[in-house]
Amino acid sequence: MYDFDIKYIIESLPYIAKGIELTIFISVISSILAFTIGLTIAFLRRTDIKPMTKLMGLFVELTRNTPLLIQLYIYYKGLPSIGLNLSPIACGIISLSIYTGVFISEVFRAGLNSIAHEQYQAARGLGLSDFQTFRLIIFPQALRIIIPPLGSQFINLIKNSSLVSFIAVTDLFYVIYKGAVDDFMFFEMFITGALIYMALTGIVALLTNIIEQKLKIPGKAGSI
């Protein structure tokens, strides 16, 4: 029978905590950037500027159809060759933000398209500008619809952030992997790691539910 070494985990905790800290840091910054990128792409794809919508469409396809790990290496090895020397952490944040941002843009696009065109006409009919209509009428309604899938994207981001360990960022996965391999503590470290990732994503899931309930429109059916 395998002997689960609790003592080893407890001794490693300060070391693991450093990894958690970095994973949280990368995830929070990347989430904010990904949300901004996603919203921007979705907004630009709704404009009448054909070259812009085509370009953004192409960018979305290129990004979401290639592995994040390859993109990570392209930014990590590619950016220095064009004279841009960034730290591994910065490269990790950039690739995670862009990759997740593209998926979020699709979530936003679906949400924005689901708002009836009549809402737009009613707002314009009252004299609101195009941007006011987007900001005050279309976006707030779309946001309520997309909160659950948006939460899933942030959960994916946290899990995907483990890939930054491939470019020598000492995140949670890195410290777990190192402990597992260097000290032959596979079971202890991977189970502990899985539980910690689950706790982190669990917080996001909980927040998503709370926000969903807070923004619920009185009288509206379902959980919207």
Binding site: G125, G127, S129
Partner: protein, 246 residues
């Protein structure tokens, strides 16, 4: 000067002609009922007036200002022309009061306190004061439409456009909304109403515009229109909707 002047407008989507050579005038305080079979172009005509649809050709003036001019400030014109839709289109994430206050605060830059007073006065006028804090999904269709009318009135428009305002309502709720509209007509509002309510057209309107197959076929006073219409197309339409010999 006419309140609304429409000069030879055309509207087409790809190969489909929706409006063909329509010209019309509406005077201040006039109540115009726009009637005709479905797909005849009457809703498009209404939406062209405040620029929600762009005409393909021709010109439209509101109170002397050209809506169709390329450099025109459409937001300003729209803030002076209220529009009420068949599907109500209240903003579902805002309470009744917030729906009404939105445009005065954001477009006219009226202080919130004043906008709230305006909203409350209008809600009283349309008989919805008790529902100020409710959300659209908590109201009946007739109530929602009365709020939509109040929302348009909050901008103190020169003209009110109605796009089949009662077509989605049952007879009881239809009457609630028609009563509100009659009251508005008595107050002297200039109104264009696209409607299938022949009794409303007959009783309240002082001009009828009849559209058929993308053209404005007949334009006359209700008495003449219903009792002695000029064109055979009109007679046929009236026979089918009123189910009587004209």
């Amino acid at each position: 000067m006419s309140m609304i002047k429409v000069e030879n407008i055309y509207k087409s989507y790809k190969n489909l002609d929706v409006l063909i050579d329509v010209s019309a005038q509406v005077e201040k305080g006039q109540i115009v009922a726009v009637i005709g079979p479905s797909g005849c172009g009457k809703s498009t005509f209404l939406r062209c007036i405040n620029g929600l649809e762009k005409v393909s050709q021709g010109r439209i003036f509101i109170d002397g200002e050209e809506v169709t001019a390329p450099n025109t400030n459409l937001n300003k014109i729209r803030s002076e022309v209220g529009i009420v839709f068949q599907q109500f289109n209240l903003f579902s994430h805002m309470s009744v009061k917030e729906n009404i206050m939105l445009a005065p605060v954001k477009v006219k830059k009226i202080p919130k306190n004043n906008a709230e007073q305006i909203a409350m006065a209008l809600l009283e006028k349309v008989g919805m004061l008790d529902h100020a804090h409710k959300y659209p999904e908590q109201l009946s269709g007739g109530q929602v439409q009365r709020v939509a009318i109040a929302r348009s009135l909050a901008m103190e428009p020169k003209i009110m456009l109605f796009d089949e305002p009662t077509s989605a309502l049952d007879p009881k709720m239809t009457n609630e909304v028609l009563d509100t509209m009659k009251q508005l007509a008595q107050d002297g509002m200039t109104m264009i109403v696209v409607t299938h309510e022949m009794s409303f057209a007959r009783e309240v309107a002082n001009k009828i515009m009849f559209f058929s197959q993308s053209r404005l076929v007949e334009e006359s006073a209700p008495d003449k229109f219903f009792n002695n219409p000029e064109s055979e197309i009109t007679r046929e339409f009236l026979r089918s909707v009123l189910k009587l010999e004209v």
